[in-house]
Every structure is written in C-alpha cells, then in structure tokens.
Symmetry: C2
C-alpha cells in the first residue's frame, strides 16, 4: 500500500508567492526533475515565474489574488482527475491546501494529516502576511476566508499530528493548546515517534496525508533551505525555530507510519536550492554557455 | 565574442570515475539541466552510471581502462563535430582532457589555458591514484601515457595560468616552479587578477580555454562540493587546500578576460550536489513517489 500507481496524481506546484520567495519556483521544478518516474498523470499548476516586481500586499496577505488564482487552478486540475491519491512537489507550504482539502472531502473523517514541520503553519494574516504559514490552520477551517473557502470539509484537530515541531511562537502555542492538536518533538521523532504511533492507534484514522516541509531538516546537513541561505547572519530570520532532524530520521518516521496506514497524500515543500540557483545564474554569464 | 553559437559543441560529460566519486554523475546531469539553452550541437559522452562495485586500481590508476574508453569516446564526438569552441559540463576535472587537447591541436600556440582551481592538477599516478588530479599535467605532456597519448600538441607552460590556487602540495610546488607556470592567488583574484591580465598581455595568446573547478569556491557559501560533504570531519580530506573564492569573484575574473580574448573552451567541473542526491534517494523511499 501507499505505492504510486495510475490513480496517483503527481502535482508539480512551483508556487513561490505564498512564501514571497522566488527560489521556491526552481525548487519545485528541480524536485520534479529528481523524482522517480510517475506511474500516473503528472500535471503542473500554472505559476508565473518570478520577476523583479515585488508582490503586492493585498488586504494583509502578500500576493493574495495570485494565490487565490493558483488555488483555483490546482482545484480544477484535481477535479478533472478525481485521483485516489496525490503527490505534490512544491513550492512553498501553501501547495498542500487544495490537494489536502480534496483528500479531506474524499476520505472524510478517515483522513489523518501528519504535518512534518518545524512550524505548525497555523498563523493568520493578523500575525504574519505570508500565507505559507497559514495552511494547516486553513485546512482545519481557521483563518482567512480566501483560504478556508477552499476547504469544504475542515479537518478535525484530533486527526492532525505535527511532528518535528519545536519552540513555537506564543500565538502558535495557544492555538495548538486550545485545539488540542497533538505534537511530536524532534527528539521524540528520533526516539521512535511514539506520540505519532499512539495517535494513529487512537484516532480512527484509516488513511494519511503527509506534508513534509523540508525546513524540518537541520540546515547544517541539508542546505537547500531558507535557513541555509549562503552568508546569512545568525538573526536574519527573526530567531524562529530551525530544523533539527535529518533525512534518515524523516524516512524512519514515514516508514513506520506506512506500515500502519495507507498514504493517500504526500507533499514535499519549501525546497530552496541555493546552489542550483547560483549555478543557473552563473552559467547565464559564462562564455560559450550564456554570455 | 565568446558567445555561444552553432559552432559551439556542448559536451555533457558525467564522468565520475576520474575522482572515484559517484555524485559527479548527477552533478553533470544537473548542470546540463540548469544551463541556458544551447545554440549548437549537444552531445553526452557515454558514461556508466555508478554502481556499488568499487572501481579497480589498474597499474596505479583508479578506473584506468574505463577512463581511457571515455577519453576516446569524447575524442570521437569532437572529431565528428570539428567544433570551433567547446563547452563542457562535467563530471570530474578529467573531463577537460580530450576537449582542451583538441583545442590545442586546432589553435596551436595561440591557445591559452586559464585553470581556475584551488589545485593545480599536475600530479601523476606516483603521487595520487585518481586521474582527475593529473589533467593539467597531462595537457602539458607530463604524466601517465594513457592520458598524454590523448594530447597530440602539449600546451606550453607559458600558455598556462592557474588562478585561485593556494597552499599546493610539495610535489605540485616543485612542478609549478620547475615549469615556470604562472599562478594567481585567491586574494589576487579578488584584487583584480593583475597576474592574469599581465599573462594575457605577455604571452601571445589569442584565444582562451577556461577550466572552472567548482572546488575553487568557498564551501561555506557554495555547498555542492566535495569539501562541503554533510557531516564531514575537519580532517576528512587530508587537509588539502579548500576553495576561498565566491561566484561573483569568478564571474568578475572571467568577465575581465573575456574583454581581452575570445573564449573557445569553457569547462565546469567537480559539481557534487549533495542535497539533490539526498532528495533523489529520499523520494525513492517516500510513499506515492517511489516506495
């Protein structure tokens, strides 16, 4: 089970506007290039390539109108295919909104969401203007209407587990406590992810959607991340939590949940390939290649 | 001048055996994927994908027979196209052997070689078993016959400049001194590369082949390098010199020489994309993608 087959839609979603960070565009394309061959349909959500024009702040959300357009485009693709399972190659974290909303509609209360991320993504425009930090909240029916409108069947808090999270912001801590969302720290993940396995047993979940924000990884060992920006200063990212896991930790966690439940959604998000981007720009200026 | 045109052969050369390091295979393919579109023919030198079987040490050179086969394959492709200029996307440093030998034959004593590298690549099997460290020596006619046989017209020492080099090994220091090869330190490169410009004026060079070993870059800022291996220990690489330049330094140097001379050869070598490799392997194990 959880094997890709002809009913798995692969969605390449190079959305960068949700994080207001152009390198996510190349990050999505590069993931698609690196991924194993697909056994089912492959679609790319139309996203404009980044330009020098800054994204407008629209009613407290950066790039609101273009994000809404992309969410609708993703919904239309999904509706056309009616897939039983979806793999998403992002793009920023917001790429999971339309696919996971569709899975929630299709599987109802049987769907669990395993959110593998340093951050809970439950903020709203009131706390933060970039919608990639709003997506899990929106999937639960909370936050900005332009996002929650895409969610016909909100996901119940009992069906959500956030793994790899640490040191949430005060608003996030309150949200998690008030809704009773279960979490699993990086250390707990490394020690066998007991809270995740317990959640799978307790909750009546039958199928799983997994969101993997690559930011959950330690930026010292995996450098294609925002936090591994070359030449960054220690406090450049507002001292928010940074990833503490490594790829083998994530694969062990996912491997364990795969033995318990069928996986029907799998997103990889926030891939920011600095070296690839710098090589691409360098080659445009080198003789016999670009210059 | 130096613009790519229909007479520029682009050679994708995923050779990894010269460094006995499999990730160079993906590194070459990824460079090809990232490069601007070509205006001329594009060819890929046939190279077997890495397997778990170790390369044999043959008469003091690691993978000797497969390297000879690849050199001959590259020569055959070049002979078929008779290009006026060649761009090479490696692969380990040995990828420059056949293309630069052909340019030397074609342009004779008018050809200068600008070797942008932390290391001079003038060793022989007596000092080191991996041929990627032998290539500049071989282009000058020195070293192992299986390499020098590919060089019909050895390049004179006066036509060679090594830029970005520092702290060479004792054998390399002696070789450079005995042959009178000019060099330019990383600090000199950053300060305007005066020794390079002087060399271009002095030497009667009319056209240039540029070899860019990405190892010349500071591994703290560009991490798709051997020396930026995730989790490496400080002394894991035998304390050989590591890169001190950044991409803007290299582009400034290349931009300056391009205003003086036409570029007829351009190699990028030793691209080792750790993150891409780890993502590729991770996706093979993730549900709905590979597992």
């Amino acid at each position: 089970m959880s094997k890709p087959d002809k009913n798995t839609l692969r969605l390449i979603f190079p959305q960068w506007q949700g994080g207001d960070n152009p390198p996510y565009y190349l990050g999505s394309r590069l993931l698609a290039w690196l991924a194993p061959p697909s056994h089912g349909p492959v679609e790319e959500v139309p996203v404009d390539a980044p330009t020098d024009t800054p994204l407008p702040l629209e009613n407290d959300m950066r790039g609101r109108s273009v994000l809404v357009k992309q969410i609708k485009a993703a919904q239309a693709i999904i509706a056309r295919h009616q897939p039983r399972s979806i793999a998403v190659l992002g793009g920023d974290c917001l790429v999971s909104l339309a696919p996971f909303a569709w899975l929630a509609e299709h599987y109802g209360d049987k769907l669990g969401v395993l959110w593998i991320d340093t951050h809970p993504d439950v903020q709203t425009p009131e706390q933060y203007k970039n919608a990639h930090a709003h997506v899990l909240g929106a999937l639960m029916g909370h936050g900005d209407p332009d996002l929650t409108n895409a969610v016909k069947q909100p996901i119940a808090a009992k069906n959500v587990m956030i793994a790899g999270i640490h040191d949430p912001l005060p608003y996030e801590t309150r949200f998690i406590a008030e809704h009773g969302i279960r979490t699993c720290s990086p250390q707990q993940v490394r020690e066998g992810a007991q809270p995740v396995m317990q959640w799978l047993n307790d909750s009546g979940i039958e199928v799983l959607a997994i969101h993997l924000d690559l930011d959950v990884l330690d930026p010292h060992n995996f450098r294609s991340l925002l936090f591994a920006k070359p030449g960054r200063g220690k406090h450049d990212f507002g001292d928010v939590a940074e990833g503490k896991l490594n790829i083998p930790d994530v694969l062990k966690l996912v491997g364990e949940v795969m033995t318990e439940k069928q996986v029907v959604g799998m997103t990889i998000a926030e891939h920011m390939p600095w070296d690839a981007l710098n090589l691409q720009q360098m080659m445009q200026q080198l003789p016999l290649l670009g210059a």
